[in-house]
């Protein structure tokens, strides 16, 4: 995935979270053959870096802290975990009912999902993922 060269680590973490959000959207533990994962991650990184600086700073800090946090709970940083364990880790954040966690989960879950489905729609690839839509 092309990332901002100044932030390769952040790019890897964002990609891992976005992959996990897409897996949640599709309800599956692998993304084999799923199109537009790279493009979605790329847009999400761009979105993150394009926010107002004080918002971006907070969300980047939260993203990196989340990545490191699974070292304690799962024995490895988030972006090194296999997808099923990443899904469980992200679900734990979604379960936390306070503002900062919700903002983090919304950014990757809702906006990541929107971005993914938008790519599919704009490239006439919805049927490839959904099967035939009505």
């Amino acid at each position: 995935m092309p990332t901002n060269p100044a932030r390769p680590h952040l790019g890897r973490v964002v990609r891992a979270i976005v992959e996990t959000a897409i897996a949640d959207e599709l309800g599956r533990d692998d993304l084999e053959g799923v199109p537009f994962v790279d493009e979605t991650a790329e847009v999400m990184l761009r979105r993150l870096l394009g926010m107002q600086r004080y918002l971006a700073g907070g969300l980047i800090a939260m993203t990196l802290a989340f990545d490191a946090s699974t070292r304690v709970s799962d024995g490895a940083v988030f972006h090194h975990l296999p997808l099923p364990r990443r899904r469980r880790a992200l679900a734990r954040v979604r379960g936390l009912q306070f503002g900062v966690a919700n903002s983090f989960a919304d950014f990757y879950g809702k906006l990541g999902g929107f971005t993914f489905w938008s790519h599919l729609e704009e490239n006439h690839a919805l049927d490839a993922v959904l099967g035939r839509t009505e």
Binding site: G27, Q97, D106, F116, S118, L120, E122, L126, L130, E134
Partner: protein, 472 residues
């Protein structure tokens, strides 16, 4: 450093700025329009698409007001401003709303009788139209549900142009299609990709603007300055310029909650675009309606932790996005963050707002279940969908702070107008108190909510103020 000058400099090319520029240019003034965003064609990206967000939304659509519940807000940042990205719904406010405005801040020469001719001109000149035929299945469902409860609905006209009876797609009549070209034809100049940092002023006169274009400083000399950059950016620029009196202290908005509802039969046809029917039974406090419901938008509002989301999206024609919008009671502030030059927006979603939104959501649920909905998504993050009216009513009695997605595209009142200078930032025609040639002419001027989609009111008010400026 570059330098440019004009008699009238208009900052922002959204509805307020475009109207100001068009009328000033047609009156023979030397006009420069300064716009922070790019100049895109109206069809450079599909409406409400990811590409459009990238091109035309400020910060890709990621802006929030801070409070116990953060509210996501959208701003256009392109030639045409918010008119390029909103639903384009057109309303006149109620006469009683305009009277309330007049009385609240003592607005001179203002009221329904003096404003209706400006609305009529907007309707005539800016391409306001209803659907040429049937306005789509989502609207029919809304009518049916409301009708079964004895509630009234209304098709809302849009800033749109349709070619014939069978054209359901039509063409948006945003500012880049209407008033901006009109201003340019009359000789106005447009400087896109130009960000205004501050107003230069001395002794109660604005002398020009400090701006930035392509990373380089641009000095703009001006005899008259109109700030029309919207309810967040206009006060940001004023405050950065040291103009503080009642500036950015009274922001208001229309908070909105969206849910998705699933039906046994097909009711969603995205080809119709934005559904134009609204329930007007509970106006002015509450508006109920249906949103554009493409698959990506459904995915956004359905929630991100549904095990069968893919099946639900496959079945997208049976699901729609519905909203309740309220006249918010919270009053917020806008501050310019030093060094960063970005606005910090704070606004409380009040207990009254939550009560009102809860009442609206309860009514919306009543309508949707009456229309046959089998399930309504839960607006509270992580909570299960609602399958009956009672479950929804229980939730609506006490909507929780901080756990719902609340959004808005209607922000206003951050530099209110009126002759009562204890509570206003400008006089009754938008001239900033203490200045002879510095004006505000956008939604910032509203003393309070218009209680309807505000674009029509911005245009009519801007027209009133500019004609006064040109005549007087």
């Amino acid at each position: 450093m570059s330098r440019v000058s004009a008699d009238v400099v208009v900052v922002g090319s959204g509805p307020g700025g475009a109207m100001t520029a068009a009328l000033c240019a047609e009156a023979g003034r030397d006009v420069l329009v300064v716009e922070e965003g790019e100049n895109f064609r109206i069809d450079s990206a599909p409406s409400f698409s990811l590409a459009e967000m990238d091109q035309k939304y400020r910060n890709g659509g990621l802006n929030v007001t801070f409070g116990q519940t953060n509210i996501t807000y959208l701003e256009g940042r392109c030639v045409g401003g918010g008119s390029e990205i909103n639903a384009g719904l057109y309303h006149r406010p109620l006469a009683s709303t305009l009277e309330q405005w007049r009385d609240t801040t003592n607005i001179r020469d203002f009221g329904p009788a003096s404003m209706w001719p400006h609305f009529e001109a907007v309707e005539r000149e800016c391409g306001v139209a209803t659907f040429p035929g049937d306005n789509g299945p989502a609207c029919a469902l809304l009518r049916r549900g409301a009708g079964s409860l004895g509630w009234s609905t209304r098709e809302i006209a849009r800033f749109w142009r349709y070619e014939g009876q069978h054209d359901v797609v039509g063409r948006r009549q945003s500012m880049s299609e209407t008033l901006v070209p009109r201003a340019l034809r009359a000789g106005a100049r447009l400087s896109a990709n130009t960000r205004v940092l501050a107003v230069r002023h001395r002794g109660g006169r604005a002398t020009g603007l400090v701006a930035q274009r392509e990373g380089r400083r641009l000095d703009i000399e001006a005899k008259q300055v109109f700030l029309c950059a919207g309810a967040v950016q206009t006060p940001r620029v004023l405050r950065r310029s040291g103009v503080l009196h009642n500036v950015g202290d009274s922001l208001r908005l229309h908070p909105m909650i969206r849910v998705t509802a699933r039906f046994p039969e097909s009711m969603n046809d995205p080809v119709y675009g934005v559904p134009t029917e609204q329930v007007d039974q509970f106006k002015p406090e509450l508006t109920l309606g249906c949103s554009y419901s493409s698959i990506p938008h459904l995915a956004l509002w359905m929630g991100s932790d549904l095990p069968d989301k893919r099946d639900r999206l496959r079945d997208y024609r049976r699901t729609g996005i519905f909203y309740v919008a309220a006249v918010g009671t919270g009053v917020g502030t806008i501050r310019d963050l030093p060094v960063l030059g970005e606005p910090l927006v704070r606004l409380p979603l009040t207990r009254d707002d939550l009560t009102r939104l809860g009442e609206g959501l309860d009514k919306l649920g009543q309508l949707l279940f009456s229309a046959g909905a089998v399930e309504i998504s839960n607006p509270v993050a992580g909570q299960p969908a609602l399958r009956d009216r009672q479950a929804l009513s229980n939730l609506c009695r006490a909507l929780p702070q901080g756990r719902m997605a609340v959004s808005t595209i209607h922000l206003f009142s951050s530099c209110p107008m009126g002759d009562d200078d204890r509570v206003t930032a400008t006089d009754s025609h938008g001239r900033v108190h203490g200045f002879s040639n510095l004006y505000v002419n956008d939604a910032s001027l509203f003393p309070m909510s218009p209680a309807v989609n505000p674009q029509g009111t911005v245009l009519a008010l801007a027209r009133r103020n500019v004609l006064r400026f040109l005549g007087g």
